[in-house]
Amino acid sequence: MSITAETAKAHAHDPAVLCCRAEGGITIEPANLEDPAIFDDLVDSGLLNLDGCLTIEEVLGAKLAKTCDSLCPLTADVVEGAKAPSAPVEEAAEEEAPAPAVPAVSAPAAAPAAGGVLKIHIGEGKDIDLEIPVGALGGGNAVAAEVPTAAAAAAVEAAAPAAALEEKVVRTLTRKHFKITDVKRGPETKIEGTTLYIREGIEAEVIADQELVKDFHLEIITPDLYHTYSETIMDVQPIATKEGDDDIGCGVTRVLDGVVMMLTGVDEGGVQIGEFGSSEGYLDENIMWGRPGCPDKGEIFIKGNIVVQEKTNMERRGPMAAHTAFDIITQEIRDVMKKLDDSLVAETQELRQVRRPGKKKVVIVKEIMGQGAMHDNFILPVEPVGVLGARANVDLGNVPVCVSPLEVLDGCIHALTCIGPASKEMSRHYWREPLVLEALHDEEVDLCGVVFVGSPQINAEKFYVSKRVGHTVEMMDADGAFVTTEGFGNNHIDFASHIEQIGMRGIPVVGMSYCAVQGALVVGNKYMQYMVDNNKSESGIENEVLGCNTLCPEDAVRALSMLKSAMAGEAVKAAEKKWNPNVKSSNVELIEAAYGKKIALVENEQSLPMSQKRKEKYD
């Protein structure tokens, strides 16, 4: 498509190709030129050969020597009076590039322009502007480019008054861990030592609780039973309760180690409760062990399989009824946990919400599903990942809800979970949310909070909520932001819009999503320059392996590093035109070199026994 004067300026150094037939003698204008954003695909398909093609800045205002047809590359022999090319300016060429229409994976650092200046602005009332010649910092190639960030950060600390830089602990959350090694059925629900007993016959109460729940079976899956067939896994939840009247996110939380709640389900017609794939099959072939949202290998599953009324699997009330009914069992366990003697506490852990005045203030915006059906979340229940007291995201209108990092880690989200087993964030994911943990622990940034925003079904509503996100982040005076999303597809519309709304306010923003092949972004804007792909699967697809492509610590580390680079004004290379897993590995290497630490990468589905489904459909 023809381009505007503004686009032509942004692409001054890109090849000039006629979008349409143009007659000899015309003066070449932006309207005559094709958008360089699509050239890669055209070159790939053999429709375009850019050899000898002049750049846009060279041809604008020059005369076309002879009539040329659409998609004709403008070479010296067809242009009269071409201008001399200018030296490409690093920032202009890379940072203003339009959003990639392909899987967006960017390098966190790029070679600084020769003789360029690294500009650092420190806010927080100190107003110190440092201009450090990049050459002085030794940055000459991509590998070294991360170093200036660290060096600059050190310089900042040295320059600012020490008093203002003290960490401030806003609040703490204590987790008391109780070890469970055995789960049995018995006449009453109780915990004796490290054995959890679940009352026999509790199934009838689960069925009776909700009209839409037609059948329910409880299974205790111990590690020796992992090779058991299961319907699709709807959710994995920690078993935790608050002490006394403590609110979520502060005080004391008791949690059982070694055991998780697992909800699975179908409708009466045998249709799996899921969308864009489902994880039914043998458990050990379909669970990506150790993902934040998944069970860890060795844990016992209290697995409830619910059958909901026919055809309510894709209605909102079906999954809601399943989750609500299943919580009857969890709640009975929670009630027992409240009475446990402190002598049974195996381990106590203190989570601290720390603010770091003077450091770059960052905010995490987590987009969660709000389209309805299973695409919903219960927000802020009374108990960790409970039901009572929570408000459904859809009922709240999907508007942004600000929470503290500790509320996230204390189970403020009961996830009804969205599309794609491999990319959905289940309740346990929030309990162990890696980006929140990394940002909270990173001494170079000041995490001010987490914003949850729903993803509505209708586009008009998507933009309604994304505009609220923009204002929310604006009034936080944040220096940088993360926008994460689970799933893929429809929600990428608002994902892009959230980034745009934050980006247009001059705030650098890193986007995190499963992209790769199947989740390739179909939307984009010029603020989507810093993207981290959560893909782990070998072939870049939604492989229906539970949790495979969700946000992991290695993604959080990359995102933090990228945001720091962006906030420091460093250039980040534009995404490659096609998904290339090597970009991630080279980024990881860069970060390891810059910070002198090893980043352990998680395994993917290739470490699991091959399932029939995977064999037939994917690998």
């Binding site: 498509m1 023809s2 699509i38 695909d41 429709l47």
Partner: protein, 467 residues
């Protein structure tokens, strides 16, 4: 002669209200309906008896004998030319149907040049002003295959020029320019002779590409000014009138004749060949079938009947009546059969609406799996007809072709102008897309080149001083 059906809505605006009832005797020129808002008077086009007044039409049974004389229109002041135009019920006869009495109700001498959008007028200096005000006569006859407009220049040039001068007088325009395609050499020669001594009337020659008759294309070609899709020609101190409308204005002023007849072209798969049958002064309300019979009747099996042109017309039926805006009746050959193959539609402002494109895909037995819109097709208001930002100048189409490929189209049907069709062809076939144009079945029927690759220049040499 069969019953005459006169539609109550033959113009832009609200339907008129009938002022006759069943059983009323009417003459040629009897006023039978008046506007209920924006609109124009409607008159009986025949002598006869009102048979029925329906919600959307008045049905008249014509007398056996039809005299030429008509009931003249009446206005309080016979010298008030604008009042005569209004009373005569004249609307834009090129097809748009905007009430002419409303359009001419402007004083162009006092109309200021509007601010132009610099993005689409890169060659004009900021604050560009036109010194003169203009009546631009649309004689492009842009829809391929139609000939009645050019025929009227050839046969009634004096009347048309008289109408133009009345338009200038009514609007206080100081110049008039005829926009006519250079290929119509005979008509151009006749026109040159007639305006030889008219110092304020000139000719602007147009290239033979589609679209040239789009109102803003006429303004751009004659005056070099690009209007936005929201701007009217008055933004360039001008009013665009179709030449047939100009002739109707002359009839209203000189003869007090109401607007009751229409010139049109009947063409296509007709017994006796595919040459154009031009019918002048056909009473409004006559059926499509009657006109096809007058031309010779349909020759065997056919694809569809189109009322209007190949690009912007709609499919119609034999018993449908013609209106003040009907320009063509086209009987086409049969459609090709795509056997349910995947089809993509490229909808633009210059061709059919998406609905029309879907109808054609359906008639070709194609399955629509993808719909793209030309980047320049602007929907000013939700649901409003599309308007092209730069008529006849392509914005590039390869991105749409890529989408069609992605959506697994085997065929695409395009409704684009000459320039855009050329662009589609530059990449579509190479990508493996088989391209049909919305007008193919008409072009094949009338023996016109298909809209594919553009081989003619958009530039034509002009007459010396436009004379």
């Amino acid at each position: 002669m069969g019953n005459v059906q006169i539609l109550l809505r033959q113009h832009v605006g609200a339907p008129c209200q009938a002022i006759v009832k069943a059983g009323d005797v009417v003459k040629k020129g009897t006023k039978i309906a008046t506007p209920a808002g924006l609109g124009a008077n409607i008159f009986s086009s025949v002598y006869g008896v009102v048979e029925e007044v329906l919600e959307d039409r008045i049905v008249i049974k014509p007398d056996e004998e039809q005299k030429d004389e008509f009931v003249p229109i009446e206005v309080p002041d016979e010298n008030d030319k604008l009042a005569l135009v209004k009373e005569a019920g004249i609307v834009g006869m090129g097809g748009a149907g905007f009430p002419t009495g409303v359009k001419l109700g402007i004083n162009l001498a006092e109309t200021e040049m509007a601010e132009l959008d610099p993005e689409i007028n890169p060659e004009l200096p900021a604050g560009f002003k036109l010194e003169h005000s203009y009546i631009l006569i649309n004689a492009a006859e842009c829809e391929p295959g139609l000939e009645h407009n050019i025929r009227q220049i050839e046969e009634q040039c004096d009347k048309v020029v008289r109408g133009v001068k009345y338009c200038m007088e009514i609007t206080h325009a100081d110049k008039a320019i005829f926009a006519i395609k250079k290929k119509n050499e005979k008509a151009v020669e006749i026109l040159r002779k007639v305006i030889a001594d008219e110092s304020d009337i000139t000719i602007h020659l147009l290239p033979d590409i589609y679209p040239m008759g789009e109102e803003r294309a006429v303004v751009r070609e004659c005056l070099g000014v690009n209007l936005t899709t929201m701007q009217l020609p008055s933004a360039a101190r001008s009013v665009v009138v179709n030449l047939e409308t100009a002739a109707k204005i002359a009839e209203a002023v000189d003869e007090k004749k109401p607007c009751i007849t229409k010139n049109l072209t009947v063409r296509g798969k007709i017994n006796g060949g595919n040459a154009a049958h031009v019918f002048m002064d056909v009473p409004v309300g006559v059926s499509v079938g009657e006109l096809i019979e007058r031309a010779g009747g349909i020759d065997g099996v056919y694809g569809e009947i189109i009322m209007g042109g190949a690009f912007t017309g709609k499919s119609t039926e034999l018993d449908a009546p013609i209106t003040k805006t009907t320009g063509g009746i086209l009987v086409t050959i049969e459609f090709p059969d795509l056997h349910g193959a995947n089809v993509g539609l490229l909808v633009c402002a210059c061709g059919g609406s998406e609905e029309r494109m879907r109808e054609i895909a359906d008639k070709m037995n194609g399955k629509v799996v993808s719909v793209c819109r030309c980047k320049q097709a602007i929907e000013n208001k939700p649901g409003a007809p599309l308007k092209c930002l730069r008529p006849g100048n392509c914005p590039g189409q390869v991105k749409n072709n890529m989408q069609f490929k992605k959506d697994k189209c085997e065929y695409i049907i395009i409704g684009n102008c000459s320039d855009c069709s050329n662009t589609v062809m530059a990449s579509g076939p190479k990508m493996g897309l088989k391209v049909f144009h919305q007008t193919d079945h008409v072009m094949r029927t009338v023996g016109h080149a298909l809209y594919r690759t553009l081989r003619v220049s958009k530039q034509v040499d002009q007459l010396p001083s436009g004379k």
